[in-house]
């Protein structure tokens, strides 16, 4: 076959897909300090991340995972697990989908949501660790705030919609019903649209 035919994703992603690191093999006996599960198989992907923590240093010493999902989802969790081992909880907390995508050598636009689940699962695991150790004060609330009062739509939902492909105000409305009643929130929604497009897709 023509050797110009490249694989569908980056070489780095391919490599992690072919040889995923840190898969959780012995779920029953693994003594994790924190565990997070996010996603839903009905949507096509679900991730579980477990971590071990050096309590004195506040550093992640081990990270294992299981993922139900596509090649990007599998590679995202694999590379994430490598990224966080040796990292402080604080730093790990702030890993963004963009960081993961970057490590993978970039993701196609329609695949960005796959890497979003990875950092969410990791944060869920860290929060679980905080909870188990009486450190609830460290848990940062996912700062969702309601943008559209009429339809009860939060900035999180707008972000999700952007990640799922909404690029215009109308597409956001189709997906979330945001601003379909009084329309007062339109300006804020447009700002968020620009912000999330820039954040996740650089445009």
């Amino acid at each position: 076959m023509n050797n110009k035919v490249e694989w569908v994703y980056s070489e780095k992603l391919k490599e992690h897909f072919m040889n995923p690191r840190n898969i959780l093999q012995n779920e029953e006996t693994y003594q994790e300090d924190g565990k997070g599960i996010v996603g839903n198989i009905k949507c096509g992907d679900q991730m579980m991340v477990v971590i071990k923590v050096d309590k004195n240093k506040g550093v992640i010493t081990d990270c294992k995972w299981k993922t139900y999902g596509c090649a990007s989802a599998i590679a995202s969790t694999s590379i994430l697990s490598e990224m966080v081992i040796g990292m402080t909880l604080e730093d790990a907390y702030h890993i963004s989908p963009k960081d993961i995508a970057q490590q993978l050598g970039g993701l196609p636009e329609h695949k960005v949501h796959c890497s979003v689940l990875g950092d969410k699962a990791l944060r869920a695991a860290i929060n679980d660790y905080y909870r188990r150790n009486g450190m609830e004060d460290k848990i940062k609330k996912e700062e969702a705030h309601i943008v559209c009062q009429c339809m009860n739509v939060s900035d999180r939902e707008i972000e999700e919609a952007v990640l799922d492909g909404a690029r215009t105000y109308i597409e956001l409305q189709e997906r979330t019903k945001v601003g379909t009643v009084c329309g007062q929130c339109k300006e804020e929604v447009l700002d968020l649209l620009v912000k999330y497009k820039k954040e996740h897709f650089g445009d």
């Binding site: 949507c43 679900q46 995972w65 999902g69 596509c70 990007s72 599998i74 329609h110």
Partner: protein, 400 residues
């Protein structure tokens, strides 16, 4: 080591038949415009005429009943748009159709479903027929709809994803009983099972060259003599004024040759593929736990096997197979970029999580028993591997 390359995605497209290729290369020297009266034009015209005869003979109609189009999708669009003739000045016969109704099914190809969605905005009433768990349309629903008044019915002969074959003849008879017109999108069926328009009793039928080892970019629409019609593309006398635009002579020649060859190759291919498909089914069932086959167990295209592996996601299966040199397709959402898995699998009532874990294996004239053996050898390991890193237990949920 040379990696094996096994193409099991023949419902997406087929490789060009070597003889078709030869014929097309010869035709490349015949550059005339079939509309020109001089010798160059006449040479091209003869080529088109012979190809039209071959395609017509393949589906049992007369050559005047064949309109060449740019694709199967264009042919399908053409039929549906007959009901939405845009102009009073259009010199067409669509005005003889007094109704503005289309009846179709929930498992049609997007080129039907998207088009009827647009037409519903133009004052055309659309009714969707549901299908049963095997993908067969419910005849009683069709009759109920027809009792409300005549309509243009568009039902695919065989489904591209699950291979289920409809009882088009029965549907056509019912349609005519209620003074309706019947179109069938036979793009997947033609070349895989015998198709004869007079046996099926349809008014319109769509077919495409690249599914029968012909070239891409050329389709055809059969329109029964005397059936109301309106062109989608206007402004030329080509195709007897039914499809304007200078003929794709190369494509048409390829289509004609492909049809001619398929006519002789199909019968033996049918038996051979059926046996291979059943070997594959058995092999996968024996070697993989929790597998579910989708589609009709008997009324199914001989080359198509659609299968779900709960606990494993379809795009991941597809790409691990790709790395092993095997090409298939998937009904999973992840591969398409949308969040919803295949509308066909959902329509036949497969749980969403099973639909995400489905692949379609579609064999063709080049598929060998070794290919099937290799698939049976490779796939179980891939499924096992994916499941071992999955959050979802294969046995969860539905029972066998």
């Amino acid at each position: 080591m040379v990696m094996r390359r096994i193409y099991l995605d023949n419902n997406a497209t087929t490789p060009l038949h070597p003889v078709v290729k030869e014929e097309m290369i010869k035709a490349m020297d015949v550059f005339g415009n079939p509309s020109s009266l001089h010798q160059f034009g006449r040479a091209a015209k003869i080529m088109v005429k012979e190809a039209r005869e071959a395609v017509a003979s393949f589906i049992g109609c007369s050559p005047e009943e064949i309109i060449f189009t740019g694709s199967g999708s264009e042919a399908n669009n053409t039929v549906l748009f007959i009901l939405a003739c845009p102009s009073q000045q259009c010199n067409c016969s669509s005005e003889t159709i007094k109704y503005k109704r289309i009846i179709t099914s929930t498992i049609e190809h997007p080129c039907i479903l998207e088009t009827v969605k647009c037409l519903s905005d133009r004052g055309i009433e659309i009714s969707y027929l549901n299908v049963d768990n095997y993908g067969k349309i419910k005849m009683e629903e069709l009759e109920q709809q027809l009792k409300k008044g005549p309509a243009l019915i568009s039902i695919m002969t065989a489904n591209n994803e699950i291979g289920t074959i409809q009882d088009i003849k029965k549907i056509a008879r019912l349609a005519h009983q209620y003074s309706s017109l019947i179109h069938t999108d036979a793009v997947q069926a033609v070349g895989k099972i015998p198709i004869d328009v007079n046996d099926l009793e349809v008014d319109f039928l769509t077919l495409s060259a690249h599914k029968i080892y012909g070239p891409k970019g050329i389709g055809a629409l059969y329109v029964r003599k005397g059936t109301p019609f309106c062109p989608l593309i206007r402004g030329g006398h080509q195709e007897s004024g039914r499809r304007a635009g200078t003929e794709n002579t190369l494509g048409i020649v390829g289509f004609g040759k492909a049809a001619e060859i398929r006519k002789t190759e199909m019968p033996s291919d049918y038996q051979r593929l059926l046996l291979l498909r059943e070997k594959l089914r058995k092999g996968l069932k024996n070697k993989i736990e929790h597998v579910y086959f989708n589609g009709h167990p008997e009324d199914c295209l001989p080359n198509t096997l659609n299968v779900s592996f709960p606990g494993a996601e379809g795009e991941a299966i597809l790409l691990y197979l790709d790395l092993a040199g095997i090409a298939v397709s998937t009904g999973s959402a992840c591969a398409s970029g949308s969040l919803d898995p295949s509308h066909v699998l959902l329509a036949i009532g497969i749980p969403v999580e099973y639909a995400h874990g489905s692949i379609r294996i579609s064999m063709g004239r080049d598929t060998t028993e070794e290919d099937v053996d290799y698939m049976i050898e490779v796939l179980p390991g891939i499924i096992k591997r994916i499941r071992s890193m999955s959050t979802v237990e294969a046995g969860e949920g539905q029972n066998e």
